[in-house]
Symmetry: C2
């Protein structure tokens, strides 16, 4: 068995994989309705929200697109707070659909600074919304959305959060933080194969939606809402992924959010300590912003991280991710979210430690 330690897709527990073997059912029938309503309610609990919540068939990037096209009109001013590849991608989506995007960018490894966000909002009162990546998968950095969100709300802006690699793993209380739209993806902490994206929608988001003129059909929240009233989806959903969610969310609810978050804190701490103990450096600049779902690591000087990853795969069946964007070929990343135990991290660290000498570095 491989030790899949990418930050998504993440491994799935066997009962979750098995759940997908249930035969297809009519997605306009009573049994489907029960499953759909149950999974939706479980997601609301795990998102810590009473807002509407939709489960749409598509990748997380589809969810990011859905958030944009449902809330905005062309030429709307949006402030994109980006600390990496996924923040940049979201800004590109908004620009593609005609938004007037101002980018507040930070170096990869840094977290967004609430004071700079305040200045950016002061500088342009026409900004309607702030896009924030909660956990930047490409950099292994978790933004302080509580503080950033408070700033956005001081100025009464819509707060739109990419929680794809945080929700269900790192505390992200949607209602308490007044997040208007939060986006998640099934293949992250939810321990389910990729294929579905989940979005919560606040009352303020619905008000924006009512006036939003960007073209939308497949991702349209209004159609999703109309069908969810019948326990359905407007288009044929990924039924087997929904079966998997119906099992995995029960496992997560059984563990309980405080325990889930605490487990991810332990896994994050353990990973970072192990990496530093070997003498390797973390990408994250200030460790108080280090992500508890993914760790980005600088290899020792002169070592090609992609060659190191090949050794780890060939010799230890350990699968890590490489760098993205301008860090491609420069770092490696370890996923420690969802179905992940201390044992998995021990194995991961041990494999890295044993492989480094092959590449000319003797870890401490």
């Amino acid at each position: 068995m491989e030790n899949l330690r990418t930050p998504g897709p993440t491994p799935c527990p066997e009962p979750v994989l098995q759940a997908q073997t249930k035969q297809m059912i009519n997605h306009r029938g009573a049994e489907f309705q029960n499953i759909m309503n149950g999974v939706t309610q479980d997601f609301k609990t795990l998102f810590q929200t009473k807002n509407d919540l939709f489960i749409l068939t598509g990748a997380g990037t589809g969810g990011l697109e859905a958030a944009i096209v449902n809330l905005f009109s062309p030429d709307d001013k949006i402030l994109s707070v980006s600390i990496g590849v996924f923040g940049d991608r979201w800004a590109s989506i908004a620009q593609t659909f005609g938004a007037d995007v101002t980018s507040l960018k930070f170096e990869m490894g840094e977290a967004a600074d609430p004071d700079l966000l305040r200045k950016a909002l002061q500088a342009d009162p026409k900004i309607k919304a702030v896009l924030i990546t909660h956990n930047e998968t490409s950099a292994g950095v978790t933004n302080d959305v509580a503080s950033l969100g408070r700033v956005a709300k001081e100025f009464d802006k819509l707060l739109v959060v990419d929680g794809i690699s945080s929700l269900g793993s790192i505390d992200c209380p949607v209602d308490k933080w007044q997040i208007d739209v939060a986006v998640a993806g099934s293949q992250k902490g939810w321990m389910v194969p990729p294929g579905m994206t989940m979005l919560s929608v606040s009352e303020a988001a619905w008000k924006a939606h009512a006036n939003a003129k960007m073209p939308r059909f497949y991702w349209d929240f209004s159609r999703a809402k109309k069908y969810l009233e019948k326990g359905q989806t407007p288009w044929t959903p990924a039924v087997s992924i929904l079966y998997a969610l119906n099992v995995s969310l029960k496992i997560l609810l059984q563990e309980g959010l405080p325990n889930i978050f605490a487990r991810h804190v332990r896994l994050g701490n353990m990973t970072r300590k192990g990496i530093k103990d070997m003498g390797l450096k973390l990408l994250v600049v200030d460790e108080s912003y280090a992500s508890n779902t993914v760790t980005a690591v600088w290899p020792p000087e002169g070592i090609d991280p992609d060659k190191l990853r090949k050794t780890l795969r060939d010799d230890f069946k350990l699968i890590l991710s490489g760098g993205q964007g301008k860090l491609e070929g420069k770092i490696f990343r370890i996923g420690h979210l969802g179905y992940c135990s201390e044992k998995d991290i021990e194995d991961t660290l041990s494999a890295i430690k044993k492989s480094l000498p092959k590449h000319g570095y003797n870890p401490k």
Copy 2:
């Protein structure tokens, strides 16, 4: 076990369901690349095309949206040929994204008339493309795309075909018929759960794409092409659905296209004969256009088709579909595509025959 006879989702063979239990893998790794390239090649064979072919994560409606946003600019003139709910939906998508859509509509139950298509194209030389539903799932009618397509090509128009409920079940040779974009969905004849949509893209379609200004990001063909060159998808794909396709397409290739098409002809004939033998009427006006994947049936006068469906479900575990659009509550529909045998149709017909007396009709 239920006898699921809806026209999608359709039942899946056990090995296909089981294929989904394979653990997740890195979607940027070598094993994924092999699967992705293999499934793509198998789809090309089954689409009977040498064109590019993309497998995107989403429902069939997402595929219909992808076809529009990748080919057109706002204000482009499009001729929509519609014979039912899915044809109308496609026209709505095109209008939503700003196309100038002319609708050539036919009553549900009728097939599109190539002569009327010729007149419509003569009437407006500015039309760039023709949208045609090959098999209209809401009406149980199969259009003569060979003839309709020839007319479109007489006028040198782009030919864009919704083959969601035909491809892989009813002969739809993409290259021979010069189809520029053909759209399919995993949950139909492919015998796989819903979650992926497949599109073939011709050289002429690529030329249109190069000038197409509708906003697109998630569904963008250029991004899909760039990543497919590495055996990847731009966004995390529905890995477990891909595992299922990797098994189901081999089963289909083993059976062979001529046998698959012949089986669907037999199932279609058997269904229609059984329905007529009971004294019930088909929705399709001219039986030479009857669909071999789905049959739409008028219930006997005075019988509520949705109540009949409830009896079939409660007494026989037979799941049929109801009417859509203006035929909601007026007809019922029997799916006979994909994983479906003569025995399944025998059981279906027998259950209908036994249930009708309960509703006051004694079948012949």
